[in-house]
Symmetry: C2
Subunit: 393 residues, 2 copies
């Protein structure tokens, strides 16, 4: 049978990550390739009790169809969190609960992107966003990242090319681990404002800050021109697929229409479990426990890297999030590193799929949150041996 698929299916990159992760799933492999939170921190006991209590106490109310927008008390919690954390005034009406923050990207694609619509994206950019927007046949306009955020001339260029929105991850970006400076945030906001465009601000890692410092979201500068998302995946658990999107009214109306057509509404049971957990347990101290652990895991990785990586290899020093980014000398291939490291039972993720226009062949993403200190030390040690050989060639 010769099926006729939509054009978009030929434009979507095969999921390199998915294919790669399959290779690296053997239990004897030390994997820095994935992007999993540290599962030893999940509040298992608390969630088990909360799940039971919510269903027992609320009965049919948490098992029936529910509103598309989401459970109001949870939306109020999110709005209140923006106020407390970012001193940003947001109404619960501006919050839609989604199946993970990934769904926000899908919905943004749906409401904003026609075939060929120019869309600005960081380079390297988050692969999940590249996949989501590719399915709406976006014409990507890359915006290079430097240490303190996007190259402003590239943002200007994206706006001149009439990008309907620019997508970025200002806090502890996936894949680079970079965080935009305060001044870059303001400058990008100014450019977006002048060009009447929109910024899609992915804040999946905003709560995972190693030193506690909190930068002002771009949304705070230009609230009407930013669609911002957030996630419970990094601060409670990813398994329930719970996130949200925060958007101004006109955009929210379209997002709700798109959400309804996509899956009617987000699991009301999951929403009620999350809300009750947030009500009964001190989320701030739990988040501190996560960030403190990730800070140590990241520190452990950086320490071994400093000692053992060849001088010609550079790397980012994250101040939050789950990833750091390694750049090999020009001409060195991350695919070679991938293959050689795998022989030593270490998995890394070549950076190529994070580039929409080719390039990045000499880059690697490393995840530090899903390995023990011993695994990090041993894994980076083995990786260093590979890098020492490959950079010598």
């Amino acid at each position: 049978m010769d099926y006729q698929f939509a054009d978009r299916m030929s434009k979507t990159p095969r999921s390199f990550i998915r294919e790669t992760l399959k290779v690296t799933e053997c239990p004897d492999i030390i994997s820095f390739a994935g992007g999993l939170p540290n599962p030893t921190l999940f509040p298992v006991h608390e969630l088990a009790q909360v799940a039971k209590d919510v269903i027992s106490d609320e009965g049919a109310a948490v098992l029936q169809y529910a509103t598309t927008e989401g459970y109001l008390p949870l939306r109020e919690w999110v709005a209140e969190r923006y106020s407390r954390r970012y001193d940003m005034s947001v109404s619960p009406d501006e919050i839609l609960i989604t199946h993970g923050s990934q769904q926000c990207l899908d919905l943004c694609g749906k409401i904003f992107i026609d075939k060929g619509t120019p869309v600005g994206i960081e380079e390297p950019g988050y692969l999940g966003a590249i996949q989501a927007f590719s399915l709406y046949e976006a014409g990507f306009v890359p915006v290079k990242l430097e240490t303190d955020g996007p190259v402003l001339a590239d943002v200007e260029n994206a706006m001149k090319k009439k990008c309907r929105f620019f997508y970025g991850v200002p806090n502890s970006q996936n894949p680079s681990g970079l965080t935009w400076s305060e001044s870059k945030r303001k400058d990008v906001a100014d450019i977006i404002r002048i060009h009447d465009s929109v910024f899609v601000e992915d804040d999946a890692y905003g709560e995972i800050r190693f030193d506690g410092d909190v930068s002002k979201p771009v949304k705070k500068h230009i609230p009407d021109q930013v669609v911002m998302n957030g996630s419970f995946s990094k601060i409670i658990t990813p398994g329930m697929r719970m996130g949200w999107v925060c958007a101004p009214e006109d955009v929210m109306n379209r997002l709700v229409t798109a959400k309804q057509a996509t899956d009617l509404h987000s699991s009301i049971l999951a929403q009620r479990i999350i809300f009750r957990y947030l009500s009964e347990y001190p989320i701030d101290s739990y988040i501190r426990k996560i960030t403190e652990t990730y800070r140590k895991q990241c520190g452990c990785m950086i320490n071994v890297i400093k000692k053992e990586f060849p001088d010609s290899v550079s790397y980012t020093i994250p101040d939050g999030g789950m990833f750091l980014w390694v750049t090999l000398p020009q001409g060195c291939s991350s695919l070679d590193v991938f293959n050689k490291a795998l022989e030593k039972k270490v998995a890394v993720l070549p950076g190529i799929p994070f580039y929409t226009q080719g390039g990045g062949e000499n880059t690697i993403r490393l995840n530090f949150t899903n390995s023990s200190f011993e695994q990090i030390e041993e894994g980076i040690h083995r990786l260093s041996e590979v890098l020492n050989i490959i950079t010598m060639k």
Copy 2:
């Protein structure tokens, strides 16, 4: 701020149902307008215990990121169910777990529909499908429904217009309550086969059969040319948004790519809760309890209708599902009925939004599963008073 939205957003009908339901949410209204399962039947106690046990026993495994395809034992359960119920041989590899069966419609839109792609759809057709496919800018080709299923000449016509697929609900359709006859299923399968097209077979109500009779799915006639979906919403609970899609390998590969870009994967916690519930409790006797209750609720509604509706008003007699369909004499307006009934604190759903090309102004959908026998008797009695006045004019 003047946002630039994608073309598709201007083509999507405002959700008539959503707007309508808002009016009808007052607790003193007897509502036949919605589409809710009977919440008094939800297995609240069982699910509370199962939810706690799954999290306590499995810990991180049910809270971490998971595979896009879904939890293998649950996919095996679905495959096995097809074998037992429909004597149909399906591999677990052909099953993808989705966030409700609505998400299957979104994913089908994503992988099959380009701007203007002709898509065949029953008339009247399921509103959720109309909304999902509209967002991919489908060009709808209506296929009229008669008592025993689609008008075959209309199916032929849809194929001649090169419909990439034809979408239908052969069992106890939403909104009409009609079920396709065995011969219509075979005839439609033959037409689809000859034209190398695809049938998207929505089987959300396949388990809810009042007399226990089970018809052969269209997929059984032409397995490689059917994408079939199913849902746990009608047989366990809709609140967790759990459904699935069953498709041949080539289609499944695209569906998985699309699913990953949409929301990575379906809630693993919900999947594990559903699977454990299915393992620990006798689902067949629970489904019998649901169907027996719905059969009585439907019977109650039909009894009052028979006694009190004017003779000029016709209606379907469902053999399953959750809805029946009322047709007023030509020239009578269901919007008038809606407004007049609302004055009497009864809510019905005008059939207009189930038509993609206009029409249906004299049709009404009635839901019988979310009202008590007393409410059904009293509500239909009041509705009859309205119909007697309106059809007299």
